[in-house]
């Protein structure tokens, strides 16, 4: 059975489009057109050209020698951190801005948590001259000031989400409400493989360039295009979806999804959706989400704003329940130590999200001959303050 989306918009039992009728026309327009547009030659040409000349692709697949020696296995890092704007997020926003243009939209909205997707969206709006409004929780605006400033410099309007917990989940709600109120001229650029069908599949396809490159890059270096392990962190799950995409139905490749355990899975301060979540509906998708027994969506916690989401994309819910991927939870402390280790062994400061994926090597034994590819989803510049504060305290000992 394929692990890709079926013709009804589901991965196994997960996915679908659980949206109010007010959004139907917009989502349906996208559903009917996205595959057609993506298959269009001029679209492909524009997309590939921008990925190459503007984003800087292909991103290197780097053999991390000292890290490999330390863990006695072969570790490759897929360097999405070297993309323009510093993370994998821009692969998707480039694709979606071209999609918006093909659909004749003039106004772009987006949600953002830490601000990475907001910056990537503001960037492509500046590139194409489209109006850009980014919704961001009031709490996140306060703790991510540099990214707010970047979005504004790029010409975007940043609107605070004032409802609920005032974080990513609420920013997403506000963006959806904006879309309801602007049903004809607006395209909503969702930042992850979440939301109603066709978003999870569309975003996964735009991110699939990651695994497409891994295939030929690995072949060049190891004479095989098949790694033994693919390791990626999962918040909503877009970098993982991109890294897995061309290997989803290749069962020789072990997929490892790394979630944020926060202060500990059962501490009450966690974002480990696979362990803590139940099947439900969030942001238009049937998936696993953290919720009360009454079906109220609960607040997640992680030191990493990018993993601080109470749900997970429907693809990942399917990979978890079917056993296709192994899910591992990493605490704040484990992630921060792994992040510092990469700095000191390889001279790369990773985003804290990515640091969760790197912490797997302390949790799990790999054979010396195993080829492990880690999706290095983003760079840590945005997290410097968090790193500095963390290692100032006793936690960092």
């Amino acid at each position: 059975m394929s692990n890709h989306i079926n013709d009804k918009g589901y991965y196994g039992e997960f996915g679908g489009a659980f949206i109010p009728e007010m959004l139907y026309q917009n989502v349906e327009e996208l559903r009917q057109n996205y595959l057609k547009v993506m298959a269009d030659d001029s679209f492909k040409r524009d997309f590939n050209k921008l990925l190459k000349d503007y984003v800087g692709r292909p991103s290197p697949l780097y053999f991390a020698k000292r890290l490999s020696e330390k863990y006695n296995t072969k570790i490759y890092l897929k360097r999405e951190d070297l993309n323009h704007t510093g993370a994998h997020k821009i692969n998707n926003t480039i694709g979606q801005i071209l999609m918006a243009k093909h659909l004749g939209k003039s106004r772009i909205i987006a949600e953002t948590g830490a601000g990475q997707h907001g910056v990537a969206t503001a960037t492509v709006c500046a590139l194409t001259g489209l109006e850009c409004i980014v919704y961001m929780g009031e709490v996140d605006i306060a703790r991510q000031a540099p990214n707010v400033a970047r979005m504004k410099m790029l010409g975007a309007e940043v609107r605070p989400a004032l409802s609920g917990s005032r974080t990513l989940k609420d920013a997403t709600n506000e963006a959806i409400r904006d879309w309801i109120n602007n049903p004809t001229n607006t395209h909503y650029i969702i930042g992850s493989v979440v939301g109603p069908h066709p978003y999870p599949d569309m975003v996964a396809r735009f991110q699939s360039v990651i695994s497409e490159e891994i295939k030929w890059q690995l072949k060049e270096q190891e004479d095989t295009d098949t790694p033994d392990y693919l390791i990626a962190c999962v918040g909503g799950g877009s970098n993982a979806a991109g890294a897995y995409f061309h290997y989803l139905d290749d069962n020789e490749v072990n997929l490892i999804a790394v979630e944020a355990a926060g202060l500990g899975i059962y501490s009450g301060e966690s974002a480990a959706t696979s362990a803590l979540g139940e099947v439900g509906i969030i942001h238009g998708s049937k998936t696993l989400l953290m919720q009360s027994k009454d079906g109220q969506i609960t607040e997640p916690y992680s030191i990493s704003a990018g993993l601080d989401y109470p749900g997970v994309g429907p693809l990942h819910a399917h990979l978890y329940t079917s056993g296709r991927a192994e899910f591992i939870s990493i605490t704040d402390d484990e992630a921060m130590k792994a992040g510092l280790e990469l700095c000191q062994l390889e001279g790369i400061i990773p985003a804290i999200e990515t640091a969760h994926a790197l912490a797997v090597f302390k949790q799990k034994d790999f054979k010396p001959t195993d080829i492990c590819v880690v999706s290095l989803s983003g760079r840590g510049d945005k997290d410097l303050e968090t790193y500095i504060n963390y290692f100032k305290t006793d936690n960092g000992k």
Binding site: G16, A17, F18, I19, P20, E21, M22, Y24, Q25, S163, G164, K169, D170, N173, I176, R177, I180, N181, N182, P183, T184, E278, G280, I281, I282, H283, G284, Q291, K293, D294, G295, Q296, I297
Partner: protein, 255 residues
């Protein structure tokens, strides 16, 4: 099939329907509000089951939902409050809620509970019509529940016909492309949309919701429809005046 909704809509009178969020302003206000609304002459009531993430709602109903949850409202609590409601309230009652809390309760268990209490219908804005038809329609029918579906100015004629064919009770006609919230008046665009739908001669009557706040908008909304739903304006009234002056507010809507 013939629940209270069908009976009421057979009468040749414009229906005034009120939405309120259960558990707001105070946790135990639910039955008091229901009784006061009935006594003041409203024709139908939608009881809002509060949700943490109400996507289709504007700030007024969002805030009332947040407060209701803070007050301790839960699905079980609401059913407990409504247990004996049919001893005093005879008008049609619907529950309006988002799908996730109903899904967690179990759709079948939820519908059975509604049947026992005497709820006449459900409005679940994020349960798509095709999922309803495929998975849940027979459960609703077994429980005598109307499932009320929404249409908007953007809904195509073909889809309106489809929704009409699956609907039972009435069609919830969203007045404009917006989330819920009171507006000052309807323009020509909305009036012509109301008229266009009216001329489609659908099987189910239409009741207009979103943006109705006073006598003027009520009259505009019901010129070409069978009734109108007032939600945010009523929540605003509760915010300002509490639950003591409900009668005066309702009378001002339909003097």
């Amino acid at each position: 099939m013939g629940n209270r909704i069908h009976q009421r809509l057979k009468e040749n009178k414009k229906v005034l329907s009120i939405y309120f969020t259960a558990g707001f302003p105070q946790l135990e206000d639910t039955t008091t509000i229901l009784k006061k609304l009935t006594e003041s002459g409203v024709d139908m009531i939608e009881i809002g089951l509060p949700f943490s993430d109400p996507l289709a709602d504007g700030p007024t109903i969002q805030a009332s939902s947040t407060q209701a949850l803070k007050n301790g409202m839960t699905t079980d609590r609401l059913f407990e409050q409504l247990r004996n409601i049919r001893e005093t309230v005879q008008i049609p009652l619907l529950i309006m809620g988002y799908f996730n809390p109903i899904f967690q309760y179990g759709v079948e268990a939820f519908c059975n509970k509604c049947r026992k209490i005497g709820i006449d219908g459900l409005i679940i804005p994020d349960l798509p019509v095709d999922v309803y038809q495929e998975n849940y329609k027979s459960i609703f029918e077994d429980c005598g529940l109307s499932n009320v579906l929404l249409i908007t100015p953007q809904t195509s004629e073909e889809r309106i016909r489809y929704i009409d064919s699956v609907s039972d009770g009435f069609i919830y006609m969203v007045s404009s492309a917006s989330t819920t919230g009171a507006q000052n008046g309807f323009g020509d665009e909305q009036t012509s949309y109301f008229e266009r739908i009216s001329e489609m001669k659908l099987n189910n009557p239409q009741i207009v919701g979103f943006g109705i706040s006073n006598n003027e908008t009520f009259k505009q909304a019901t010129q070409f429809s069978h009734g109108a739903i007032i939600g945010s304006a009523f929540i605003n009234h509760l915010n300002e005046d509490g639950i003591d002056r409900i009668d005066g507010f309702i009378k001002s809507l339909r003097p």
